[in-house]
Amino acid sequence: MAAQNGTTRRSALKLMGILGATGLVAPHLLGKPAFAADKAAPSGRIIVGISQEVTVLNPLMVKIEVDDAVHFSVFDALFRVMPDGTIVPNLAAEVPTQDNGGISADGLEWRVKLRDDVKWHDGAPFTAEDVKYTLELIVNPNFRSWRTIGHSLVKDITVVSPTEITWKMERPFAPYMSFLTETFMVPKHILEAEADPNTAAFNQNPIGTGAFKFQNRVAGDLVSLVANTDYHGEGPYIEQLVFKYIPDGTVLYTQFKSGDIDLLGRQYITPDNYEEASKLPGRVVTLVPSSSVECIYLNNERPQFKELAVREAIYAAIDKSSIIDALYYGLPESVETFMPRTSYYNKADLPKHEFNLDHARKLLDDAGWVPGADGIRVKDGVRLAFKNSTTSGNQLREQLQQFMQQTLREIGVEMTIENLPAAVIWGEFWTQSQFDSVVVGITFLIGADPDVTNRFHSTAIAAQGGRGSNNSQFKNARVDELLEQGSRTFDPEARKAIYDEVQDIIRAELPFLPLFSDNSARGWKAGIEGVEHNGNTRSESWHAAAWKWVG
């Protein structure tokens, strides 16, 4: 959500609270009627530079962040989440709420009405059968699908008519509405004919309902899309949309400067280039708040970290402002919580971090950690030494590590750096909590929903037989209780109270050390209009349909 829209967002959410609904029933903001009349022929081309290669084109298969750029453009979900967090219909005709009867009072029965004017790129009409096929494919045990959270609770999917579908949930699950904004619909009539959806020809040549049709892919180089002139919503205004893969940050920026690319995608502008970039003629460069939080993840089962005093002392010994100002050129903002700054659920008045080495030393002294012969503190035979890891080759994080290492040494804590390649560190090393500590940027929320059961519930510890991603092995009975309550609650205000308390506890317990949240520097050519940041999605191209060239 864009920060400047604070007031509108707040009032909108109040409204949501009054309605007791999951989403705001928005008018057909993106609907065809309003725009159909003045729809000019799309023209021009926009080249988006991205630093990771687009991999998976089937939007339901397990995929990485950068793939979203293509999926949001080629496909549509039932709903769309707007920058301010409101949910509006996309393929659906309206957003079901408890108020309008779309969701039953107990939250178990869902009824979704669909648009009747949507066509697949091959001309076939989009119907409720496609929705049913999509939701069933996601939980098909033989299909390598992406997230199944929420979808696995859906049962008894019934096609009432081509424009109406109903299903039941195993238990009330408020986050599902938000998940559906990222669940892209795939065409039943094409995929059904394929023997194996994992290797379908469709996966190389996708057909959606989105504003752009897939044109081609040049491996290791680019993915090219062309305008879908029959699009049911706003736009598209441009004729061709190209995602160009440029693996090196310097080259990416150089090409943005030289004008070879029109809009910067993921990796965006590195902090060291921001100042120069903001003065480039003919380029629009803005800072947008990132929803991911850069943090030091601690393994709470390690004897060194079991004691709160140690975690507090290490936190107090991190010179956040020097890190932010010098290493990151002052761009990021210090944070105290996992909840994105732009979220309605963000708790603003949490205790502020203070860099204070004396305080840190005192905390450790009081807790009985005494410096040994080598200057490193010891208590009950445990040396206050730990390893810190991150993805090898990440320059900025390596600088941060070395800087931290120096300050920690001053309070008698030894940190050694042991970085690993991406495919290694984020494997079992991460999921099975084999690390001491890692520097990691985490997006805690799934879509815009504040539910963090997956990260902080005690049953989500994979290293202890759990099935989630509670990699810091954090255990707190009260947090468990609150998280369970939160996922059953649909009313935003009631949920706010719940997640405020979760944030209070996590800030006090410090299972991980929050450092900062980035303000990423986005840029595009001055002639492009309609680019809007949406922190509730993972892609700068979440609504490329609205992009256009002017002048």
């Binding site: 080759g393 120096q406 495919a423």
Partner: protein, 293 residues
């Protein structure tokens, strides 16, 4: 090669002297020798003479260009003195280079001698193994192994050694095969000496020339390999400097701080060139046939 075999029976000193004289006449080899000695000395002594510690971070002094105050070679993105880091890094890079050379020469020589002397299916199998390793792009093995083993100077050394012994093995195998039926070997066998004794006591000293040459070039190669692996971030871990990891990140700051890339790269080139010069001189001095570069 023939000269060596002939001189084998009487291990007199004269050939040594002749080789030394020949080597000394080789101007490039001398230049290489002088450069590498100077570099090594600088790396050993230098860090004590400089006013800065290689690990000391000073964020106020980041990106100082060369000749700023007492930062003769400038500072890096954390404000650490590059001169201090360069010399400290030299210790590690040269040590890794040497150690990797010793290890890979050892592996290569043993496999080469055994394969060449035994011949038959043992020899064939060992040489196929050599071919198999040669058929890999060595960077694949290095990167995969670096991910497999936790990176530390020791591990990097092992990894480089494991991926660069094949050349030595090939050379030694060829030499040994040609010596296998020579009189002194046959004599040894008649005397009932054990295979191991003949291989390592009788034959090995005769192929020491080519081994030394190959070893010198392996040091050069090992330094290059370490640099590339560390450049990609898989090698020596921070804050420990190595010539390779000093370059890691230099690409990002190429525009604003080109010295970050120029200085370590130049040092690597000088070191590797020196070893190649020395190798060339040794090849001439020891009369090793010039069948590889």
């Amino acid at each position: 090669m023939t000269t060596l075999a002939a001189s084998s029976s009487g291990r007199s000193r004269w050939w040594q002297n002749r080789a030394v004289r020949k080597f000394m006449r080789h101007r490039l080899a001398l230049v290489g020798m002088v450069m590498i000695t100077a570099l090594t000395l600088a790396c050993i002594v230098g860090p004590w003479l400089l006013p800065y510690d290689s690990l000391h971070i000073d964020l106020r002094a980041r990106f100082a260009p060369p000749l700023t105050g007492q930062h003769y070679l400038g500072t890096d993105p954390l404000g650490r003195d590059i001169a201090a880091r360069l010399l400290e890094a030299g210790r590690i890079s040269l040590l890794v280079g040497f150690a990797a050379m010793l290890l890979s020469t050892l592996i290569g020589a043993v496999i080469g001698v055994v394969a060449g002397y035994r011949g038959g299916w043992i020899g064939a199998t060992l040489m196929r193994l050599v071919d198999a390793f040669l058929a890999f792009p060595s960077i694949f093995l290095v990167l995969a192994l670096a991910a497999l083993l936790k990176p530390s100077p020791t591990m990097i050394t092992v990894i480089i050694a494991v991926t660069s012994w094949m050349e030595v093995a090939r050379i030694v195998e060829a030499e040994v095969r040609s010596l296998r039926e020579r009189e002194f070997v046959l004599a040894g066998r008649m005397l009932g000496l054990s295979g191991a004794h003949i291989m390592f006591r009788e034959i090995l000293p005769n192929v020491i020339g080519p081994i030394i040459v190959a070893a010198t070039l392996t040091v050069a190669r090992a330094i290059l390999l370490e640099a590339y692996v560390s450049f990609l971030g898989y090698g020596i871990q921070p804050p420990l400097p190595s010539w390779g990891n000093m370059l890691n990140g230099a690409q990002q700051y190429l525009d604003k701080a080109p010295w970050l890339a120029i200085i370590p790269g130049l040092t690597i080139t000088i070191a590797v060139t020196s070893f190649n010069f020395i190798g060339d001189g040794l090849r001439d001095a020891l009369d090793v046939r010039n069948d590889r570069m």
